[in-house]
């Protein structure tokens, strides 16, 4: 990375030297230059992988394996390798083929359905808990919050074995450490339930902590006023406190949606075969390109671009919410 400060020694005169002179007199200018250099560096490193996906996706299939993506350029008689990969040809057809070879839109629809269902469940349950922890004083409050926090730290691997057995529905669930059978669960593998249940438990703690913070900030007077008007206790929560904390609710919703959309562990295990009809989410869709069409790298790239678009749009639209939620929620956790 060549910053103006790196090159100042090589130049002997001209505008660079004038810049150097003024920079020595005014060190703030150097900091400013360093600042922009660092900013460009971070931008390039974060966005470059997406550029690479686009390059691959528009390269025609026949050209993928021949030659290099780094073209040799001849500039005024000096030839060298261009440092940035460029497409070898142009054929946006991969963005259509990607839906034909594998029903990728159905996988995405599955992901949306799972994410929306989980978000609704999490918002409802976490609202009740957020109200309790944010607004009520009762014995055991700190201990319960600590318990929920502790559970959220356990790795998914510590839950997966019994959950998989239970969702397979072959044997009755017994009380741990005894052989007393409770009930035989229905077979839930390859259904939304086997994914929504673990997702809800996994991502609920963050929403609880976000909503606890937001609900705790609503003045008591507003709730009292609603109660005097004749609202029930639950009514006050859902008609007064929740609407007044709309930014907090939106934050919890966005973070839960993104978390479910991005989840890998349970998505790949609970949907036992990567088929859209069996509720496999985008994890299954993308992986079926990797396993079935092993050399069609342009399709893998196109599928990745299509799959990533919803979250990119969500980040751009809701970035204020994401930033405030992650910082308030995660630092609390």
């Amino acid at each position: 990375m060549a910053t103006p400060t790196d090159t100042q020694e090589q130049s002997s005169d001209g505008p660079l030297q004038r810049w150097t002179q003024s920079a020595i007199q005014n060190p703030d200018k150097v900091y400013r230059a360093l600042f922009y250099a660092a900013m460009v560096f971070f931008l390039v490193t974060t966005l470059f992988p997406f550029y690479w996906l686009i390059v691959l996706a528009v390269t025609p299939e026949g050209n993928l394996l021949s030659g290099s993506f780094l073209p040799t350029v001849n500039l005024f008689g000096v030839s060298g390798t261009f440092p940035l990969p460029v497409p070898k040809g142009f054929n946006p057809g991969a963005f259509v083929t990607v839906f034909e070879q594998v029903p990728f839109h159905l996988y995405m629809l599955n992901s949306f359905a799972l994410a929306v269902t989980t978000t609704v469940i999490v918002l409802f349950v976490a609202s009740l808990a957020g109200y309790v922890f944010g607004r009520l004083r009762f014995p055991g409050r700190a201990l319960l919050m600590l318990g929920i926090l502790a559970i959220s730290y356990f790795p998914p691997a510590a839950f997966v074995i019994p959950l998989f057995q239970a969702f397979a529905g072959n044997a009755p669930i017994t009380i741990p450490f005894t052989s007393i059978p409770l009930f035989t669960p229905p077979r839930m593998l390859n259904t939304p339930g086997s994914m929504v249940l673990p997702f809800s438990a996994l991502f609920m703690p963050l929403s609880i902590f976000i909503l606890t913070t937001f609900y705790g900030q609503i003045p008591d007077g507003l709730e009292d006023a609603a109660r005097v008007e004749g609202t029930t206790r639950l009514g006050a929560l859902f008609r007064v406190i929740m609407p007044l904390s709309a930014p907090g609710v939106a934050t919890a919703a966005v973070l839960t949606f993104i978390a479910v959309y991005n989840e890998y562990f349970f998505s790949s295990i609970m949907a036992t075969s990567p088929e859209a009809a069996k509720w496999s989410p985008i994890v299954g869709g993308i992986l079926s390109y990797q396993t079935q069409y092993t050399t069609q790298f342009n399709l893998m790239a196109a599928a990745s671009i299509v799959g990533v678009l919803p979250v990119v749009i969500l980040v751009i639209v809701a970035q204020e919410r994401i930033v405030s939620g992650l910082t308030s929620g995660a630092l609390k956790e």
Partner: protein, 308 residues
């Protein structure tokens, strides 16, 4: 609904928490206890029944007796101190992944946070660009790095192989190279998360302190060393531990970029063995949970009440 109005605060609180208890009870508490129970049993020699073996599975893991059940010649503890032996150990590879990726994520996240803390035109867009990797689904993150480094189209492999960082051929099936790539992939995705946490710490610093420093003639570096850094150190501490806990769970990125037999993380080993060797798998899962639990206890003791 009348009866609900007459409950005391405590009764009402516990009533509202019933859904949380039910959900966490089914999906977290029951599986956790059951995993522990399973880890105390082992399959009999003729595969017909399971026998109670107490801590046998754990002892087997740590003595290396269970290594034969792990895929791809993986060992649980390292069998030597060479690079190959260390990277072939599920425990060591997971810890290396967590330590190295969190270290770089902290440094890069700090850099990004210092940038985002400034006021400049277009800050909103730069911030969105820096957050986007955090929101990318793990499977797509894996696909991106698979496409950048695989031996057919991955244009990054030849230059990095020339530097001696990666194996020139069959890169994604070489343990050291694949571990390197997976760490880079994790750093790319998660630095932004660190940046946001550290940014929150930066923005809580009283700006007046910098005015005082300027009047006193402190350079930018002195301002950073004497004001910024000490004040954000607690935030960085919490963020580092929080991220380490998440990094110990690594699974999806390995499964997509390479495979669990090449980079054997602890979660990978649980998934690879749980249909055939329940007891061993449950024991590994519980050891993972115990390691994470130790880290978290450290955090809670160190932070005290503030951790909640």
């Amino acid at each position: 609904m009348r009866w609900m109005e007459n409950l005391s605060d405590t009764q009402y609180a516990y009533l509202l928490l019933v859904p949380v208890f039910v959900l966490l009870g089914i999906v977290a508490l029951y599986p956790l206890l059951r995993t522990f129970e399973l880890s105390l049993f082992a399959l009999s020699a003729d595969f017909s029944s399971t026998n109670f073996v107490g801590a046998g599975n754990y002892v087997g893991l740590f003595t290396g007796e269970k290594n034969r059940f792990l895929p791809g010649g993986t060992t649980f503890l390292p069998e030597g101190f060479g690079t190959g032996a260390l990277l072939n150990s599920a425990l060591v590879v997971t810890i290396i992944f967590a330590v190295v990726s969190v270290l770089f994520e902290t440094l890069i996240g700090l850099g990004q946070a210092l940038i985002l803390d400034q006021d400049f035109y277009g800050r909103r867009w730069i911030r969105a660009a820096i957050i986007i990797p955090w929101a990318v689904p793990i499977v797509i993150q894996g696909m991106i790095f698979f496409l950048m480094f695989n031996s057919n189209v991955g244009f990054l492999t030849p230059p990095l192989a020339d530097l001696g960082l990666l194996a020139p051929t069959n890169t994604l099936n070489d343990t050291a190279s694949a571990t390197f790539i997976i760490i880079v992939a994790d750093i790319w995705k998660t630095s932004a998360f660190m940046a946001l946490l550290i940014l929150a710490g930066l923005q809580s610093i009283d700006r007046g302190l910098y005015d005082v420093a300027k009047v006193a003639g402190a350079t930018k570096w002195q301002q950073f060393k004497l004001i910024t850094f000490p004040l954000i150190l607690p935030t960085i501490g919490v963020a580092v531990l929080f991220r380490s806990v998440q990094a110990m769970r690594v699974y999806g990125i390995i499964d997509t970029v390479s495979s669990c037999t090449v980079v054997p993380s602890l979660s990978c080993m649980v998934v690879a063995t749980f249909t055939t060797r329940e007891g061993t798998s449950a024991a590994i899962a519980f050891v993972t949970a115990a390691i994470i639990g130790t880290v978290v206890m450290g955090l809670i003791v160190w932070q005290g009440e503030d951790a909640i």
